[in-house]
Every structure is written in C-alpha cells, then in structure tokens.
C-alpha cells in the first residue's frame, strides 16, 4: 500500500507552469457576478420571446391559427415552422465537420407536421414583456389529431407500434448517426428503428464453447438530464442591412452560427454568434434550441428578441440522454481470461434518429482484451425529447451493464474484481472488439494506482456495507481549433481562442502559452472569440478542448517565440540562430552581454518591425482514449432502502494534468453526476407521455449533503500526440459510477440491481423479494 495524499497527482514530468494551479482568469468576474451569461444580454428595444409547446406526446398538427395572438396588444411577431424554409432531410454535412441531420434538428426546434413529444415547440411569440408573450401563446389555436405515443424503445420496435416518422429511412449503415427521411417515391418500411450496426471479432461461437464460466445479464437505464444550472438563453438582433448577431451561452458559437443560418436559409457570413459565459452544458448545449427561434422572431419583428427557457421547458423541451436496454454475455476460462463477449444495445433516440448508441457500443469494452466478440447496436425513435449528448454520451449505460457483468464473472471465478480487471486489461497493440488496436494508455497504471491506494487496502467494516469497483472507457475527441496571440507593449499577451470555457479552459489555454514563452500565466489574457474574430473551432465537447485548442495555443506561442527571436536578432544585428530564448529571456548564444527580456522587446515592437501577432489553426490527430477506475463504499439502510455513499475514490489517466485542480474538479463532477444517475435520477412519464418530474423538486439530483469528499488520483501516462502529454479528462469520470455503486450494493446486501436508478423504492422491493415478501 502507498500512502496517497488526498487528490494525488502521480506526475510523469514537471514543467514550469503546466501542472500548477493558478487562479483562473475569469474567476473574479464569476464570483462577483460581473460575468455575463446568456440571459444577461439586454439590448435597446428588446422584445421577449415565449414558446408554445405541444401538450401531446404524439399528434398530427392539423392547423395553427396565430391571428388572435398576432393581434394581441404588445405582440410584435408570431412564428411557426412555416416561417422558415424546410431544411433538407438529405444526409448532408456542414462544411466544417458537424454531423447532425439539420432537417431533423430544424423540426426539433420548431415542429413541422407532427408534434413528436410533449413539450415540442409549435410556435413562438415576441412581445414587449415575457408575460405578454406568454399570454399571447395561449391565444394560438392549434388543432391536433392526437395519436398513441411510443415511450420506450422496446415498444417502438414491436411490429404494431405507432410510427413516428412515416418515411423514416431505416438504414443499416456504418454511420449509425444520421438516419433521414425517404423520398416520397421510395418504399417505406414503416419502422421506428432508425439504424442498426454490428461489430464482429474472431469466432464468438467458439469462444463461448471454450469458456468455462459464462455470465449473461440485461440492464435497463432511464433517460436522465444533464442538469446544468443555466437554462438555455439567447438574444438575436437582426439589423436593417440583413446581418444577424446572436448572444447566447452554448458549447459552440460556430454551431449556433451554422445551425441558425441553415434553418433560416441565410448565408453563414450574415451571422455573428457571440459566446457568453456558460452555466454548464455537459453536451446538451452543443446543439441549438432557442437561438434560431430568437433570430426568426427578430427577423419578423425588426427588434432584438431574447428567448430564455424555464426549468420546466429545459426538462420537457431539450434533450436528456437516452434510456437504454442492454444485454451482455461474457465468457472466461477458469483461470480468469476473458475469451468471448456478446452484447446487444438498444437506445432510445427520442423523437428523431441519433442516440449515442454508436459511442455506447464502442466504449462498452474498449479497455479489455477480448479476442472474440459480437456486438449489436440499435437506434430507436420514441415520443420523447430528442436525446442530446450528455458527458461521455452512450458510455455510462453500456459500462453499467458491462462492469456489473464483470463483477459477476469475477465472483463466479473466485477472483478479486480488481485483479480480474487487471488480468484482462488491454495493453498497447491489443485489438479491441470493435476492430482498431489499443494505443498507449495508462490502463494498468490506473488500476494499479487504485490497488495501491489506502482505500482499497482498508477493510470495510459494518453491517449492510459493501464495496464496489468499476472501470470506464471513453474515446476522447479532437477537432479543428484556433488561437490568436497578440503581444502588448507592456509584455502581456492577449489570447483569443475559439472554445467556450466550461471547465476552466481559459486558464489551461493561457498556461500552454505561458509554458512556451516562459511568462507568468497572469501575463496571458485569455478570451473566447466570437465567430467573426477567431477561426472555426469545433464544440467544447468530447473532452477535446485542452487537447485541440491547447495545440492551437502551443503553436501560436511557438510563433510568438520565433518572432521575438527575430526581433532580438534584428536589434543585435546577428543571425536568428545566434539567439537563444530561455524563460522569457533572449540572449546571444556566446555573448552574455547581449540580453533582453520579453518585456523589453515587447516595448520595442514597433521600431523593430511592427506588432507581434501569431495565429494557429489546427486539427490535431491522436487525442487518445482515457480510463477511469472508481472505488466506492456504500451502506444500505434496509428499513428505508436509502443508499449512503461512505467513501469514494476515483482514479483516471489524464496524460498530463495542465491544471490539476481543474482535472480533479472534472473527475469529482463526473463522479457526482454518475452517483445521481445511479441512485435517484430518471425521467418519469405517465402513459400519455407527459413528464411527471419536470422540476428540481421532483427530479432528484445529488447535493453536497448527499456526498462524501470524492478523493481523486490523477495518473499521468503521457499522450505522445500532445506536446505536454494531455489526454481529455472531462467525460470518462461519469462512466464507472453506476456500475461501481451497483457492485457495492451487491456486496452489501447480496442483490444485483440491474435497473437504474437504484432508488430507495427499488431497493426495498428487491429486499422484500429477497425475503420472499
């Protein structure tokens, strides 16, 4: 056992700035309330928008009469989907890599032809106050033909199920994601199954024949919401010369720009999207809901319009993650070697195709060495809000099934569950069940870190207490990113970058620059640019920002460094090669008298050649996957069914933690969201498809009172594809908690909980069943 301090960093390499914990640049504004979020924009003459939503989960919209609402005093505009062009349903891509089906997204923002879930936006009003707008929405007359809803994927797959999209293009393509609608002259299959996909490796039949021990199980999970603090909000201002400016909080100002332009049928160049501060997103703010409606209302009214959702609208009208049903079969030899795996993953996409089942299937057993496998994924549309990304989208549900099955298998084999995982973890070069080879990742190191930790080595005592462990795998993303650096005459450096800052990325980006230039991080002044002032940068998501935008900042800083060398060389009338740059000091390589620091050269920028400006646009490969290993102790109250988290330790390979305190925060945040998902959170619907818990009073998220300190271990196995070794950290910590807690509950009371959430009522029912009651 090693004596770890709380929140340990097992560091691989020391740097000057990277790996330290400076105060974030935006901290003072945020803690004093000065920071401006999506709802804080107020423009002269601004109107307020309100959305009329469907009261039915599934209905044909036969007619919409807006005349009374439009005539209501104080109302300046009323819009429906008839006010914008029908966006193509063909499988087209945005120019810069977004892979959404914009036709479906447009129909999600404003319903066309059918209302597909309760809360689906039908029309919107802009008026002088939010109250007048709300009153006017009640004057809109919508004639519905109410249809029977389909609320679960299993129902939706039945041959006699009501059909959401009569012409759904059910495809069996490798691309799982987009789906689409068939042309009018194509034969319709009348199905809710949007897509199916499979993976095969080796000979799975023979693998199971060779297995000494086999475990089979099925798990179910419910839709859960990301639970961000700040509801979606945005302001749109349409100017007389046809230019549209949008102020909103999102995970991607370029996505806001591109979606809005496409929905309105205008050029991308007509739109400027200004990123405001963001009060949490966790994936859900990577697509648009309010901005296109605000833009349409502004276009029609000629006034700026703000649209801000209520919490109920957030629950009912924006995307949670998918509900799932997942079955797995695992086979191992008696000496503990996994040799075969089979799984079927069925995910609810919500009203339009595109659940995260593609990620779920690829992440389910990505960390293991399994030579024979057959995995199948199915994407099903149901009458619920279109599912949206939520932190490692798709992976937590599949890990819940896989990692509880691993626990069962370890028990059958009589092997410690951590040892069993160590015995089967993939090393570099091992082929994953989904095909590609495993790159260099600290799988073993992270498991070993938990094995060495005092938590693992301290005996858990007490009745109805149990310990559980689980691992989680996430692919991590990269993507295009941009950064611009401007050296100021006092030697400070202004940094503009393209990634909205959700988890402290301004500081992490500034630290990349400070490290290269040898400057104090306080001398770097980071800001997030709008779409007219910085190059395209893909969404803040996929645990990609520190990797991709970090690369952009690193490259831009290297350019500044080179320009400083050139200026010094010019001043000293020597070749560039004779100038050495070290810790913000430029020096002649052989003449110690010739020495200038960064600030001195910055002060002489203009006479030595003009401003020093550097920019970088990148699309870097090699973000590399990551692993999390979580260990949890619980106590089950057998009288009430409540599960208490007693102790929680989360280890994760971060490659290199640029700002360890923020990495620690990401790990803790992910673990806490996973604990909520495990124990309490779920969308609860009635038979008509109405959400019954659309407030934080009834949708139970964990609070600080529910939780112990989440201890973290940051393992650093450097990613060779990043200058400092970074791999993404934001998502994988939400993957293991549900399985770890389920395994701990089994250890405590001997019951396998296979349906989330493992809430007190379900625990009690399971206990009563165990007792034969």
């Amino acid at each position: 056992m090693l004596e770890y301090k709380p929140n340990t960093v097992l560091s691989n390499e020391e740097f000057d700035t990277v790996g330290t914990n400076p105060i974030r640049h935006d901290g003072a504004d945020k803690v004093t309330g000065r920071a401006k979020y999506g709802a804080d924009t107020i423009l002269p003459g601004m109107l307020y928008g309100k959305i009329l939503r469907s009261p039915h989960a599934h209905a044909v919209i036969k007619s919409v009469d807006i005349s009374a609402a439009a005539a209501h005093p104080g109302v300046h505009a009323v819009v429906t989907s008839a006010d914008w062009p029908e966006t193509s349903m063909k499988l087209v891509d945005l120019a810069e890599g977004s892979i959404h089906n914009l036709g479906f997204l447009s129909m999600n923002v404003l319903a066309r032809g059918k209302a597909l879930y309760k809360g689906h936006a039908i029309a919107a009003v802009a008026a002088v106050s939010v109250h007048v707008a709300e009153e006017a929405t009640k004057l809109i007359k919508v004639e519905y033909e109410v249809l029977k809803p389909v609320l679960t994927a299993i129902e939706g797959m039945k041959p006699d199920a009501p059909i959401l999209h009569e012409r759904l293009a059910s495809v069996a393509s490798p691309a799982l994601r987009p789906g689409g609608l068939l042309d009018d002259n194509a034969d319709s299959m009348r199905t809710n199954i949007a897509n199916e996909f499979e993976f095969n490796l080796g000979d799975v039949e023979q693998g199971f024949k060779d297995a000494d021990v086999i475990v089979e199980k099925t798990t179910t999970t419910q839709a859960v919401h990301q639970g961000y603090i700040e509801p979606q909000a945005g302001v749109a201002q349409w100017s007389e010369d046809g230019k549209l400016t949008i102020f909103s909080s999102s995970q991607g100002q370029f996505t806001v720009r591109d979606h809005t332009a496409r929905f309105l049928g205008i050029a991308v160049g007509q739109v400027k999207a200004v990123p405001m501060e963001i009060g949490g997103g966790f994936g859900a703010k990577g697509i648009t809901y309010v901005e296109p409606i605000a833009a349409l209302l502004s276009q029609k009214s000629g006034r700026p319009v703000k649209v801000q959702l209520s919490r109920t609208e957030v629950f009912e009208g924006t995307g949670p993650t998918s509900g799932t049903q997942i079955s797995v079969k695992l086979g191992a030899t008696k000496d503990g070697k996994l040799i075969a795996a089979e799984a079927e993953l069925i995910y609810e996409a919500g009203a339009f195709p595109g659940s995260p089942v593609g990620a779920g299937i690829q992440c389910m057993m990505g960390q293991y060495d399994i030579p024979n496998g057959h995995l199948k994924a199915i994407d099903v549309v149901v009458n619920r809000p279109k599912s949206a990304a939520y932190r490692a989208p798709g992976a937590p549900s599949s890990a819940f099934c896989m990692e509880t099955a691993m626990d069962e298998l370890a028990e059958k084999l009589g092997i410690d569950p951590l040892e069993f995982r160590l015995m089967n973890i993939a090393s570099e070069g091992v082929r994953r069940v989904t095909g590609p080879m495993t790159p260099l990742v600290g799988y073993t190191e992270t498991l070993q870190a938990v094995k060495d930790h005092q938590h693992y080595n301290t005996k858990l005592e007490g009745k109805k207490r149990g310990r559980g462990i689980a691992t989680g795998w996430w692919a991590n993303n990269s993507g295009p990113a941009s950064a611009v650096l401007v050296v100021n005459s006092d030697g400070t450096v202004s940094l503009t970058e393209g990634s909205p800052d959700i988890g402290g990325s301004r500081a992490a980006m500034a630290m990349h620059v400070a490290e290269v230039l040898g400057l104090p991080v306080t001398d770097i002044k980071p800001q997030v640019g709008d779409t007219d002032s910085i190059g395209f940068t893909s969404n803040t998501g996929g645990s990609s920002v520190t990797f991709k935008t970090g690369w952009a900042c690193y490259n831009a800083a290297q350019s500044v460094k080179q320009q400083m060398i050139e200026r010094a060389a010019k001043i000293w009338e020597i070749p560039d090669a004779d100038v050495e740059y070290k810790e913000a000091v430029l020096q002649h390589i052989s003449d110690p008298e010739l020495k200038l620091n960064f600030k001195q050269i910055a002060a002489r920028m203009v006479p030595t050649g003009g401003p020093i400006v550097a920019s970088a646009g990148v699309n870097p490969p090699g973000p590399g996957p990551s692993i999390g290993v979580h260990l949890v102790d619980v106590e089950v109250d057998t009288e009430t069914g409540k599960v208490e988290i007693l102790r929680y330790t989360a280890a994760q390979d971060a490659g290199k933690a640029i700002h360890p305190a923020y990495v620690e925060g990401q790990i803790q945040g992910g673990a806490v969201q996973g604990i909520g998902w495990a124990l309490n959170e779920a969308y609860i619907y009635n038979d008509d498809g109405a959400l019954l818990n659309s407030s934080f009073l009834d949708y139970r998220m964990p609070t600080s009172l529910d939780l112990p300190m989440i201890d973290t271990i940051i393992v650093e196995v450097a990613n060779p594809a990043h200058p400092y070794g970074v791999r993404g950290v934001g998502e994988v910590p939400i993957v293991p908690p549900m399985a770890a807690i389920s395994n701990a509950i089994y250890d405590a009371i001997g019951i396998r909980m296979n349906d989330l959430p493992m809430s007190p009522d379900k625990i009690l029912e399971a206990l009563w069943a165990q007792e034969g009651k």
Partner: protein, 89 residues
C-alpha cells in the same frame, strides 16, 4: 496493400469477407478501388458529392481516428476501419 476492415453490415457486398486487401495511397483512392472490387460499397461510405465520408462515419487508420477523411494518407501496410463517429458531451 492496405487491409480494410469491412463493417459487418457491408460484408454482403464483399462476399462475406471481413477484411479485404485494397490498394490506395489515400482514403479516396482506397475507397475508389474498393468500389471497383465490390460495386455499391462506395454509396455507404461517401457522400453524394463524393468529397467526404458520409456524415457520422469515421475512418480509423492504424488505430487513429482520421481528421482529414478522404484526403488522409494510407500506408502500404495500413489497417483501415470504418466506424461510427463518436460525438462528445
């Protein structure tokens, strides 16, 4: 020649073969040669303009998700997979 791992749903087009050997120094050339060997497979991999992979599809070359898609280079002994792109949260 590069080794292309054919997605199971497309193996009916490759006579049931899970892996096929195909020439091509870029992804575009590799897919064009794949189409010559197995007509119809290109429709599942490339968009209508034939400029990019179909939305939502990722090409993995030697274990790395390609960010250049059709333009990316393929080595003589490369291993190429076509998988669903993973979106982040």
């Amino acid at each position: 020649m590069a080794e292309v791992w054919v997605p199971p749903k497309l193996q009916q087009l490759t006579d049931g073969n899970q892996q096929v050997q195909v020439e091509g120094t870029t992804v575009r050339r590799l897919i064009n040669n794949l189409e010559l060997l197995y007509p119809g497979i290109k429709d599942f991999l490339v968009d209508e303009m034939e400029e990019d992979l179909v939305p939502g599809l990722a090409v993995i070359i030697d274990g790395e998700v390609s960010l250049l898609g059709m333009l990316d280079k393929v080595g003589e002994d490369s291993e190429v997979h076509f998988l669903p792109a993973i979106g982040g949260g």
